[in-house]
């Protein structure tokens, strides 16, 4: 007879002294871990609930401006520095870690229309209603010196926007036309127009750095190549586009913030249909900015809220609002992709977390592992109705909520009407046009 009994030595399963860690032997045999899927589901459900519990995105409000904030700019080298221009011509530089204003300049008379930093971070440019372009040093004047711009260019018309080239000493302004300037000269290298209308914003492409996009109030978005004297092509939409923003990871993708409450993501190679229509705002979208990852973007709207959209989704994943925040005019996603700043009508700059439930500060490795695990679980079970409902739930101000309902009814009515029209007319005589195609009026090359 040969016999062996299962006989464990307790010493190998119990810690030796109280100061040791407890021993936890593992066995990954699935029969010892029954109900794997239901338990993971419950964990995912708990994680989703906790995410909503911990969703406290608002971090700070930077107050000090004496009029509405009209433009924001990030510092290319320092994460903590932010520049903002106000409607009374004042420019302020903020330190985000201290949440304090470190410098203020009375830059223009009237609005500061645009502000941008030089790629090296040593100076910045502003344009204002007083028909000037000014270049300022980033550091304050030393003792005894007066606060004065490095250069001032006096133009003939009002400039409404400015953007700096990502690599060279070149910047572009817009107004009646798009001007491209060399920093050293007082007259533009070239100025480009297509039609006669005021252009509201101009943006350099961060990857293909000689490409520019601008949007004008005659409803068009025009693309330029800096190396050519004439514009490349333009697309005319239903309504006016307020700003555009290039995707920092995909050179040919840009998103346009439109007056018809929607955002349109375009592929510049095929402008006849937008890649995606992002709809959720209930009022004109005023500004848009991409996250440095190129996966999401944030949009600011006249409806007193900002929304975060994934690039490939038509619905927003997040909406931020407060009782006191008025029409949001400008928004920026910080370069570490963790925070969002928005400047609004009631003179404040607000700082938000990009991921509402994220824990700030240093995480221990266990915390990090737990959040990663929970994130994976949430992804795995995201389509289950119960989990989906909880993760999508947002509290909205009454005005936005009622407008959403109203617009839903309007949209439904339009759809019904179209269906009825097709039903009661000769088959084939009324063509169904897809929602995406409807919004593009024309593409001109």
């Amino acid at each position: 007879m040969k016999v062996k009994m299962l006989s464990r030595n307790p010493d190998s399963y119990v810690r030796e002294t109280k100061l040791d860690l407890q021993r936890v032997p593992r066995n990954y045999d699935p029969t010892l871990h029954p109900f794997e899927v239901p338990r993971e589901y419950v964990r995912a459900l708990n994680a989703t609930k906790l995410e909503r519990v911990f969703a406290k995105p608002f971090l700070a409000s930077l107050d000090g401006h004496r009029d509405g904030v009209s433009c924001l700019a990030k510092h290319p080298k320092s994460l903590a520095t932010v520049l903002s221009g106000a409607c009374d011509g004042e420019v302020r530089i903020w330190n985000l870690t201290k949440r304090k204003c470190i410098r203020m300049i009375q830059a223009h008379e009237g609005f500061v229309r645009g502000i941008c930093t030089r790629f090296c971070g040593t100076s910045f440019f502003t344009v204002g209603d007083d028909k000037t372009v000014k270049q300022w040093k980033m550091d304050g004047p030393s003792y005894g010196e007066e606060e004065e711009p490095l250069h001032t260019i006096l133009g003939k018309t009002v400039y409404t926007g400015i953007d700096h080239h990502w690599k060279e000493a070149v910047f572009a302004t817009c107004g009646q036309q798009v001007d491209i300037w060399d920093e050293q000269r007082t007259s533009p290298i070239c100025s480009m127009t297509w039609g006669f209308d005021s252009i509201s914003s101009v943006k350099f492409n961060p990857i293909e750095t000689f490409l520019l996009g601008s949007c004008a109030s005659d409803r068009n978005i025009v693309l330029y190549d800096m190396r050519q004297a004439t514009p490349l092509k333009k697309v005319i939409l239903d309504m006016r586009t307020n700003t555009i923003c290039w995707n920092p990871m995909e050179a040919f993708i840009f998103t346009a913030a439109n007056e018809d409450y929607n955002l349109y993501t375009f592929d510049m190679r095929a402008l006849d249909t937008p890649v995606m229509i992002h709809m959720d705002h209930v009022s004109a979208v005023l500004d848009v900015d991409y996250s440095p990852t190129g996966k999401d973007f944030v949009s600011a709207s006249f409806d007193k809220s900002i929304r975060i959209f994934p690039v490939d989704r038509s619905r927003s994943r997040e909406v931020y609002h407060t009782k006191r925040m008025q029409h949001v005019i400008c928004v920026k996603w910080t370069s570490d992709s963790k925070y969002i700043m928005c400047g609004s009508d009631e003179m404040n700059i607000r700082l938000w977390k990009a991921n509402a439930s994220e824990k700030l500060g240093v995480l221990t490795s266990r915390e990090k592992a737990a959040t990663d695990y929970n994130q994976r679980l949430k992804e795995k079970f995201q389509h289950h109705p119960h989990i989906k409902r909880i993760s999508r739930h947002r509290h909205l101000p009454k005005s936005i909520y009622s407008q959403i309902q109203e617009q839903r009814i309007m949209k439904e009515a339009r759809r019904r009407k179209e269906l009825n029209r097709i039903k009661h007319s000769k088959p084939g005589s009324v063509q169904r046009v897809s929602e995406k195609k409807k919004r593009v009026v024309a593409v001109v090359k």
Binding site: M1, K2, V3, K4, M5, L6, S7, R8, P10, S12, Y13, V14, Q22, R23, V24, P25, R26, N27, Y28, D29, P30, T31, L32, H33, P34, F35, E36, V37, P38, R39, E40, Y41, V42, R43, N46, K380, H384, L419, I422, K423, R432
Partner: protein, 611 residues
């Protein structure tokens, strides 16, 4: 296996080519390798190759031989490794690594951890979704390989009992085993002589550390049976029908003559649940925190012990219920009835999930094994049957016993114990997943009284038997899972660990509505509701947005865009589509005809009259 030699074959010619084309200035270590590879010692590498072939196949390679959808993926992480070490690897010292590449893993072990059903094909879907599914599958595959690799770290080996050639293990009595094994194991065999209050029901806690037993005449006790430390001993002054530990050893449910009572580990009565009356059997579902009770009045009641609410009270409509067991795989309750059927219940359904006719005459005992694949039943017809619970509920084997088994229990490794009068028989199968073979018992033991309760102790090679003469703890080598998981149920856990575990377990309490026959159904695509949704969407929209728009010929230049040519091109596409349709329908037709033919019957002359 095929990829590995290829690797070896592929790379040296490459190197030769390199040498042939360019005479590059060579480093000293390169020179050394080429010399040995070329002529100096051709022996060792060849030998090594043979060795490698003898080694068990890597699961990755076996998959790659199949042309299945998973084939490419597991190799992806391998690529950088190949790039790093072209050809036979040699260190600076010239020593060769005899075991290049990752360590081989036996296929059976990987199979154990594999969660994908490879027999099912991936559904037809968009390329984007399909590639995502494939990536997920590849990941799953990799995880199972990793888990299989960790098998090496398991510390304990399972026990066994083997007779000398010709010796029958059933003839070996407990005294012999006790004599042969070490002192610690021998101490696990004991008898409690409690003739006064018997017969006894007993229950081990989930960690296998604690034992509770209750005698018919009111004796209730709980003890740490390993150290033989008594936790409590009381007499409830009422008949005790059944006793069961709740999620931890601190709580104890006792089915008494009238009501259900809950005691703590010091014997203090915490609750008396009057809504559960005349309980005959108790069963605790640890992951759902549900206490299932079967009553004389014919009700199956689920009590949520974490909140103290009754989740469901189901009328089985089959008279008195006194045979109940749970399926540990999916938490379905099996009830045995006097008409020979076993019904399967979940709290979400008012009706049984399934009914299985098992015996002529009543069912006497039911047991389900830990993997949820086999169910053993015994009936008044003296039969002992084993059923397959996967899908068809067919009997796999049956055996008539002289007396018929009154109690059945499965061990963690698939041993089946049956209590027949005062005898306990144990049958063993080939392995964990195979059903026990009923021909030859593995062990038998005669007790001093009639068996009234049976349970294998988790994580110990011990079978606890409650009988009219008290409690007997039998040694059954090879019954238990040798390696426990410390986070799931740890017999050696401290108080702090237990408290922590309790909080975690409560946090991930599975809702009662999720109990169904297939617990993995939650992770699968719900095809039925998906189709329903699609249908509703079509109705709502009034048209199918996924239909292909009619072909519109592109405008061409140089006068080729005339109306006639446009129509021609349109017609061409239309004809092509039509041809495709016809081809498809032709392909389908013969299949239909084959189906129409009567199956199995020989053709006869009278067939022509059949209409």
């Amino acid at each position: 296996m095929e990829t590995v030699p290829k690797l070896g074959n592929n790379v040296p010619p490459k190197k030769d080519k390199l040498q042939g084309k360019k005479k590059k200035p060579r480093r000293y270590w390169e020179e050394e390798t080429t010399q040995t590879a070329a002529g100096a010692s051709p022996g060792p590498p060849r030998k090594r190759k043979r060795n490698r072939e003898l080694r068990p196949q890597k699961p990755k390679n076996t998959h790659s031989t199949k042309k299945s959808r998973i084939s490419k993926k597991p190799q992806v992480p391998k690529k950088p490794r190949e790039r790093r070490s072209p050809g036979p690897q040699r260190s600076l010292s010239g020593a060769q690594d005899p075991f290049t590449g990752p360590a081989p893993v036996p296929v059976e072990v990987v199979q154990k951890f594999c969660r994908i059903d490879k027999s099912k094909k991936l559904p037809r879907s968009e390329t984007k979704i399909r590639s995502r599914l494939e990536a997920a599958e590849a990941q799953e595959e990799e995880i199972s390989v990793k888990a299989a690799r960790s098998e090496l770290l398991l510390a304990e080996e399972p026990g066994f009992l083997e007779g000398e050639d010709g010796e029958d293990t059933a003839k070996i009595c407990q005294a012999d085993i006790v004599e042969a094994v070490d002192i610690a194991s021998a101490a696990k065999h004991f008898d409690l002589n409690l003739r006064q209050f018997g017969p006894y029901r007993l229950n081990y806690s989930r960690t296998g550390r604690h034992l509770a037993f209750g005698g018919r005449r009111g004796h209730v006790a709980a003890l740490d049976w390993v150290t033989k430390k008594l936790m409590c001993e009381i007499n409830v002054m009422e008949a005790v029908r059944d006793i069961r530990f709740l999620h931890s050893e601190a709580l104890l449910a006792v089915a008494q003559n009238r009501w259900l009572h809950i005691y703590d580990n010091q014997g203090i009565e915490l609750h008396c649940i009057r809504r559960c009356d005349r309980i005959t059997q108790l069963e605790f579902l640890p992951f759902h925190f549900l206490l299932a009770t079967a009553s004389e009045t014919g009700f199956l009641t689920y009590l949520d012990v974490s909140v103290g609410k009754i989740v469901a009270a189901l009328n089985a409509r089959a008279g008195r219920l006194n045979i109940m067991t749970q399926n540990p795989y999916n938490a379905v309750i099996h009830l045995g009835h006097s008409n020979g059927t076993v019904s399967l219940w979940s709290p979400a359904m008012k009706e049984p999930l399934a009914k299985i006719l098992c015996h002529r005459g009543g069912v006497r005992a039911v047991a389900v094994d830990s993997t949820g694949t086999h169910m053993a039943t015994s009936g008044l017809d003296h039969q002992l049957k084993i059923f397959d619970l996967r899908g068809t509920f067919q009997p796999l084997s049956a055996r008539t016993l002289p007396q018929g088994a009154g109690h059945l229990a499965f061990s963690q490794r698939g041993l089946l114990a049956a209590g027949m009068g005062d005898v306990v028989n144990i049958w063993a199968g080939q392995g964990k997943a195979s059903p026990p073979s009923l021909e030859q018992p593995y062990l038998t033991h005669r007790l001093s009284g009639h068996v009234h309760g049976l349970q294998f102790c988790p994580f110990e090679d011990v079978l606890g038997v409650g009988h009219s003469g008290g409690i007997t703890s039998m040694l059954v080598p090879g019954a238990a899972e040798p390696n426990f998981d410390g986070l799931e149920s740890n017999p050696y856990r401290s108080r702090k660990q237990r408290q922590e575990w309790e909080v975690k377990a409560l946090l991930e309490k599975v809702p009662a509505e999720l109990i169904c026959l297939d617990p993995r159904a939650l992770a699968e695509v719900d095809v039925i509701s998906l189709e329903q949704e699609e249908k509703e969407r079509l109705e709502r929209l009034g048209y199918d947005p996924d239909t292909k728009p009619p072909f519109q010929p592109k405008p061409k230049q140089k006068g080729r865009s005339s109306t006639a040519s446009l129509v021609k091109r349109k017609r061409k596409v239309m004809d092509e589509e039509h041809r495709d349709k016809v081809r498809q329908s032709l392909e389908q037709q013969p299949q239909k005809q084959e189906k129409a033919k009567p199956m199995g019957a020989r053709p006869s002359a009278l067939d022509r009259f059949v209409r």
